[in-house]
Amino acid sequence: HFPRDLKWQTNDVTFRILNYTPDLKKSDVDRAIRTALNVWADVTPLKFKKLYEGDADIMISFGTREHGDHNPFDGPDGLLAHAYPPGQGIGGDTHFDEDEHWTRDASTYNLFIVAAHELGHALGMSHSSDPGALMYPVYSYATGYPLSLDDIKGIQALYGPNPNQRKVKPKPDAPSKCDPTLSFDAVTELRGETIIFKDEFYWRLHPQMPEPEQTLIKSTWPSISKKVDAAYENPEKDLVIIFSGIRMWALNGYNLVDGYPKYIHKLGLPKTVRKVDAAVHIKDTGKTLLFTDEEYWSYDEAAGAMDSGCPRSIEEDFPGMDDEVDAAVYHYGYLYFFHDHLQYEYSYTSRKVIRIMRANSILNC
C-alpha cells in the first residue's frame, strides 16, 4: 500500500475515459478498462460506474511526454503508464503513454494487463516485489487470471472481500529460490545459459550474471504450456526441446520453432507414456535420455530412433540414484539429477554418485 494506506472512502467509485488510443478500436479500449476494473471488483465490494462527462474519481487518458501532470512520459518503451493513489483532484487518475503501441494480444504492450496494474494503484495498491504479482513494477505478458495471492491479500486489506465472490484461482506466488524444500520441474542448458523451470516460472542463469533472473514462462513463451515437465538442449542442432504432458515444443535460442508442438510419441515412446519427468542430452554419446517414472529411454539423435532394449531401470543403470528423477542436466562428464529438494552429481564414466547437494545450490543458495 501507499503510505497512510490511501483508499477510496466509498465502495462506489466512478471512472471516465477522457480519450482513446488510435492503436485499438474504441470498443477494445472500453473492454480492456472494464475488464481490468472487474479484476479488482471481483475480489472486493468495490463497484465501478462509468461517467461520460464531469469529474470522475478515476480519470483515464492517453498522452505523450509532458501531458499535464509534470510527470512526463519518455517516448517508446521504458515508462508505459502511471497512476495516482486515491485522493482528491489528480488522485486515482490513470495515464497511459501514447508513444507505446497498445494491443489486445502479446505482440507489444497489452492494454488490459497494464490497465489492471495501473488501476491497482488508482485503488491504493503500491508495487509488489513478487515477480508473479500483477503489482510487480516490470511489465510481463501472461494469460489467465491476473491476480496473485499477494495482490488479493493487498486489495482486501483495504476494502475487504467481495461478499459474493466467485471462486477464483489466484496466480501462484513466485517460488522462492532459497526455500530449502524447493524442487525443480525441469533444467536445461540454452546456449551457455542454464534454464530452470519451476511451476509457472523459470530462472535464467547466465555465467556472467551473479544472480538468477526469474520470469513467468508465459511472458517469454505465451503459446507453450504454463508448466514444463522436462527439457533438454541438443547443441548440435541448436535446439532446446521442452516437454509438457504428451506435447513437446522446440526452441531455437529463445524463439519457438515452427511445426511444434508435436506429440512425444513421435520420439518412439509408447502411447502409455503420458509425460516425461526429465530429459538430458549426453553430448559425448549423441544420446538423449528420457526419464519416465522409474524407467528411462535412450533416444539416438542421429538415427532419430529409440535405442533397442528400452525402457531400462533408473535404479539399476544409475547406482546410488533415487528411483525417480524430476530434472537432469549434463556438464563435462557429470550428470546432475534433481529429485525433490536434492541434487545428485553422478559421474557418467565411473558410474557412481559423487556428491549430494541441495537442489537449489544451483541457484547460489
Binding site: 501507499f2 510527470n71 521504458g78 515508462l79 495516482y84 504492450y109 494503484h121 516485489s129 516490470v138 544472480e211
Partner: protein, 77 residues
C-alpha cells in the same frame, strides 16, 4: 573491472531519481556517492537482486525493462 560508461551511470541515476527518490544533483562523475549506493541497494533489495550497491549488468538490465512509472518506494509528491 571496467568502469561503467557515462551512459550507464546516467541511466541508473535517472532510474533511481524517478523510482527511489535519489536526490537531484551531487551525483555526477563516475564515483558512486553514498546516496547513490544506498538507493541502488534499496532497488537491488526490492527486486531480489544481489545487494552490492554496485551498478552491475544484472541491475542495469532490470533498469532497462519496460515498467510502470509509479515509484517503487513512497508516493508521488
Amino acid at each position: 573491472l571496467p568502469l561503467p560508461s557515462e551512459e550507464r551511470w546516467l541511466l541508473a541515476e535517472k532510474y533511481l531519481r524517478r523510482f527511489y527518490h535519489l536526490p537531484n544533483g551531487l551525483q555526477g562523475g563516475q564515483t558512486s556517492s553514498g546516496d547513490f549506493q544506498n538507493k541502488l541497494k534499496e532497488m537491488q533489495r526490492f527486486f531480489n537482486l544481489e545487494v552490492t550497491g554496485n551498478l552491475d549488468d544484472n541491475t542495469l538490465a532490470l533498469m532497462k525493462e519496460a515498467r510502470c512509472g509509479v515509484p517503487d518506494v513512497a508516493e508521488y509528491n
